[in-house]
């Protein structure tokens, strides 16, 4: 029983870690801000959930499980909110998605450099 729990828990943690690595790759490879945010936030919550689950299985049941639960709740609360805020801020500072209708509309080619140049102008 304990062995099985160990393997399941370990597997979950590894899976969570893999998910996070995939998310990181997405952040590097995706074309624009919004898809990158999407990659980061989704894998973040997903990976964290898997890992916390794995940890819960590995540790003794009790206070630690409760703590892990709280951590999970916290992540579920903050991570999407942060992603939302980030996307919001990106939109507010003039970034437009590169795919879908927006690309056809052809606004703003060099979106990546926008925040910095904006900062410079203000400075």
């Amino acid at each position: 029983m304990a062995d099985a729990l160990f393997w399941i828990g370990g597997g979950l943690i590894v899976a969570g870690a893999m998910l996070s690595v995939l998310g990181a790759a997405g952040v590097l490879r995706f074309p624009d801000v919004y898809t990158r945010i999407h990659a980061a936030s989704l894998t973040d919550t997903g990976g964290a959930t898997l890992m916390l689950l794995g940890m819960g299985l590995l540790g003794p049941f009790g206070l630690i499980t409760l703590k892990l639960l709280l951590v999970w709740a916290f992540i579920m609360l903050t991570s999407p909110a942060a992603a939302n805020a980030l996307a919001n801020a990106a939109f507010g500072s003039g970034h437009r998605p590169r795919i879908g209708n927006f690309q056809i509309m052809g606004e703003d080619k060099a979106t990546d450099a926008a925040p910095e140049s904006a900062g410079k102008e203000r400075a």
């Binding site: 609360l77 909110a81 919001n88 939109f91 507010g92 410079k120």
Partner: protein, 356 residues
């Protein structure tokens, strides 16, 4: 003597340290200050993890809240007010600094050969005073967390100094930034009822939670990792979050800058006051065994903290409690003051200053 090297933990140690080296190299490399600051934030997080491997949960906790938290916020505030990129430095001007750093490094490498092996339990560092604390803390202080015992009591004077350093930073930042043109940090996007409603709702839920957590960290310091310093930073973060989401005007209405400065000073007064009370009651400075007069001690019910049979060091207990409170006050108020200082200056304010 054969030291049982725990292979797994050592491998983790090596891996994390290598990550730190890579991060440091990236910080050296990059010219973007934003990138450097974020890399430093990651650096802190990684080093906090490493500190956990090194059995230093208190330090890890602190490194996480300070390095990844408050330092990043302050540094971001600073580049917002200055500029985002460093000028390229020609290689010629890097030769001398490189040589200097190399010189120091060479001296250090030479010196390292005289240091005991990593993890050696018999090294002087681990066998003299450090070990004495482990042996006597329970008896002298009564707190299970030896780090807290040393921090609060054995080396409480250091901690007083540390608190004063924080106060000094508060005074320094207030002197530098606190009296200039004061701007109101408006809610992130100007329009009322805008897209930020998610953020606001979340923040409203989070702020009390964070403060609750700070209190937990504060009072849990006796038993586990944590204490006044970490709690202070966490509490400050709650306020800073409030300011970021709801605007500086809202926050300063709740906590005026003058009040924050006053609390920072009062924290040190509380800490030093404990020391003075000890003197008045016939002991030395910060000698908590004399904090309570016998009459007061007699009034404490024996079973106040659980097990009635165990002898309890009430003086030490309340002393550490009180000084941690002082630390909490000073640290949280200082962090808030620092944030106010940086946030209170905007680019427009700078322009106004330049025109003056």
């Amino acid at each position: 003597m054969t030291a049982p090297v725990l292979e797994a933990s050592f491998a983790l140690n090596v891996a994390l340290l290598l990550m730190l080296v890579v991060l440091a190299a990236a910080v050296v490399w990059t010219r973007s200050l934003l990138a450097a600051i974020l890399l430093m934030s990651v650096y802190s997080l990684v080093s906090a993890t490493w500190l956990m491997v090194m059995d230093a949960p208190d330090v890890a906790f602190t490194e996480a809240v300070v390095g990844a938290g408050i330092s990043t916020i302050v540094a971001l505030g600073a580049i917002l007010l200055t500029r985002g990129e460093a000028v390229r430095v020609s290689w010629k001007r890097q030769v001398v600094p490189g040589l200097l750093a190399g010189l120091v490094g060479g001296l250090l490498i030479y010196a390292m050969s005289g240091l005991p092996d990593f993890g050696d339990p018999a090294s002087p560092a681990n066998s003299h005073v450090g070990r004495a604390y482990l042996e006597t803390a329970k008896r002298d202080i009564g707190a299970p967390n030896v780090v807290t015992a040393v921090l609060g009591s054995y080396r409480g004077f250091d901690t007083l100094g540390e608190t004063v350093v924080i106060l000094a930073a508060c005074i320094g930042v207030a002197l530098m930034l606190g009296f200039g043109p004061r701007a109101t940090l408006a809610p992130p996007a100007g329009a009322p009822g805008d897209h930020h409603v998610v953020l606001r709702v979340t923040a409203k839920m989070l702020v009390p939670l964070i403060i609750l957590f700070a209190l937990y960290v504060q009072f849990h310091g006796d038993l586990g990792a944590g204490g006044g310093f970490q709690a202070g930073v966490i509490a400050a973060v709650a306020i800073i979050l409030h300011a970021l989401v709801f605007g500086l005007r809202e926050t300063t209405a709740a906590i005026p800058p003058q009040a924050a400065r006053a609390v920072a000073a009062l924290g040190v007064v509380v800490y030093a006051g404990v020391g003075i009370v000890c003197i008045v009651n016939g002991g030395g400075f910060l000698d908590y065994d004399h904090l309570l007069t016998p009459q007061i001690e007699a009034m404490i019910p024996a079973g106040l903290l659980g097990d009635p049979d165990k002898p309890h060091h009430w003086g030490q207990y309340f002393g550490i409690l009180a000084i941690e409170l002082g630390v909490l006050m000073t640290v949280s108020a200082t962090m808030i003051t620092i944030f106010y200082g940086f946030a209170g200056r905007t680019i427009d304010a700078i322009a106004a200053e330049l025109r003056r």
